[in-house]
């Protein structure tokens, strides 16, 4: 496992093997092998692009559903989590410590679509005790990236 490579890729997944090799003082072969091993071992699970969907004309709604469930004997929360995360509209599922058990993030086209998913699919599962739906109004920062900031280099061009 190579944490330095992971950190580099996490902040910019488009960095080339050549650049990573140069930046870490390693060879391209070694870096490529490390990345391959981490992909195979599912340490690297995917490569995403950060999109500010607010800037795109398509309407898009994100909701956080706080779900309380009854854990099942022998399977704990895993089974119910699986039944939830397999739905395509679910983007993330986290098991939480606190006032509820599962944090479920859902992407839908409209409020109606999200609501329908909650009362049709989620609320009707027998182990689900309650749901509370929260709609995201605006994303300021996601995965360490601050949206809507255009930063210019304000430093003087030449400084001794």
């Amino acid at each position: 496992m190579n944490v330095e490579i992971l950190k580099l890729l996490e902040s910019d997944s488009r960095l080339s093997v050549k650049d990573i090799a140069a930046m870490t003082g390693s060879t391209e072969e070694a870096v490529a092998a490390d990345i391959k091993a981490m992909e195979d071992g599912k340490v690297i699970c995917g490569y995403h692009t950060m999109v500010d969907w607010d800037k795109v004309a398509d309407e898009k709604v994100t909701a956080l559903i706080e779900v309380k469930v009854t854990p099942q004997r022998g399977q704990g929360f895993d089974k119910i989590a699986e039944r939830i995360y397999n739905y395509e509209e679910v983007s993330s599922v986290y098991l939480m410590a606190g006032t509820y058990d599962l944090a479920v993030f859902i992407n839908g086209k409209t409020l109606k679509e999200v609501s329908k998913f909650v009362y049709d699919k989620l609320a009707t599962m027998e182990t689900v005790i309650s749901t509370q739906t929260n709609f995201v109004l605006r994303k300021y920062k996601d995965h360490g990236i601050i949206f809507n900031t255009e930063k210019q280099d304000e430093r003087l061009a030449i400084i001794p």
Binding site: L8, I159, P160
Partner: protein, 391 residues
Amino acid sequence: MRNPLSKTIQEIKPSGIRKFFDIVSEMPHAISLGVGEPDFDTPWHIREEGIYSLEKGKTFYTSNSGLMELREEIQKWYARKYDVHYDAKKEILLTVGGSEGIDVALRAMLDPGDEVIVPQPCYVSYVPCVELAGGVPVTIDLKNENEFRLTLDELKAAITEKTKILVLPYPGNPTGAIMTREDLIPIAEICKERDIYVISDEIYSELTYTDEGHCSIASLPGMKERTIVINGFSKAYAMTGWRLGYAMAPQVIAEQMTKIHQFAIMCAPTTSQYAAIAALREGDKDVERMRESYDQRRHFLLRTFEEMGLPCFEPRGAFYVFPCIKEFGISSDDFATQLLKTKELAVVPGTAFGDCGEGFLRISYAYSIDELREAMERFGEFIRELREKKA
């Protein structure tokens, strides 16, 4: 009308960087690798502390030496990081950037005719500050083959009866050179033997890319008594605009430095001092993060030069590389001017840091990898064209 200017100031050469700055400022599309300050913003928790101090109305002068709480943090920080022990009450002075510390130290210590040894290429202010303080700068031309370290022989050859101070700027701007403990030991010995004081400018100390890290000459036996350590917050914590540095010196020198500082400046900016407390207490992880990033860019540039076949020693400190361009047979100034005009890429000619910088360029890597990649493409093209022209 009579001449309003002093002879001293008229004899001081203006900074060689000025001319470049003027050309670059008229080229809006030029990429610059000429900046001597971090590209990071000051970490937010440090800015927060500054803002909080303003909200609380902490907008008054501090004592001349600076907030006691901050001086105590500096004492602890230097002891923890570099095993150097100055007394917060009597030997530490907060200054307006490291530059003020250098100026005040020289003014507190020099009589007319006293010689100050300045190894070059180096930061632009040492020589003029020595001259303004009435001293005589004696420069040493550092060598590429020594990786721009100061050697015992070079130092010995420069010492005379009048030598009072050695300026020791490591990690170095513009070369990125460092001095290890082993390198410093003989220098310290000769300073003790010949009774020479050392102004150790350690502003880049935290940006050292070796396992051992930075070594301060003040940590060597018998050296604290004759060393004035200059440091600050600009480079390590990305706080250039806050204008906050500090000097640590034996009490007898620190008292007189404080006197000059009191009359010229009064005290360092109060808001910056409050923010700096947060930097020293909780800033280790920020420094670590930025250092890792600089180190990656440093590797990136060195690899690129290697591919271009451009000789460059491996600098282990600061955020500069100092490649040699002697093969092209043109001056650093011409090289940099042509590069700027034809490829819209600004770098600083080595001669801006002393005549012995001829044949070298200072390239800063306080830029993102994307910017460096683009800049190096232009740089590579330029070099190819020069080589083709020559062949």
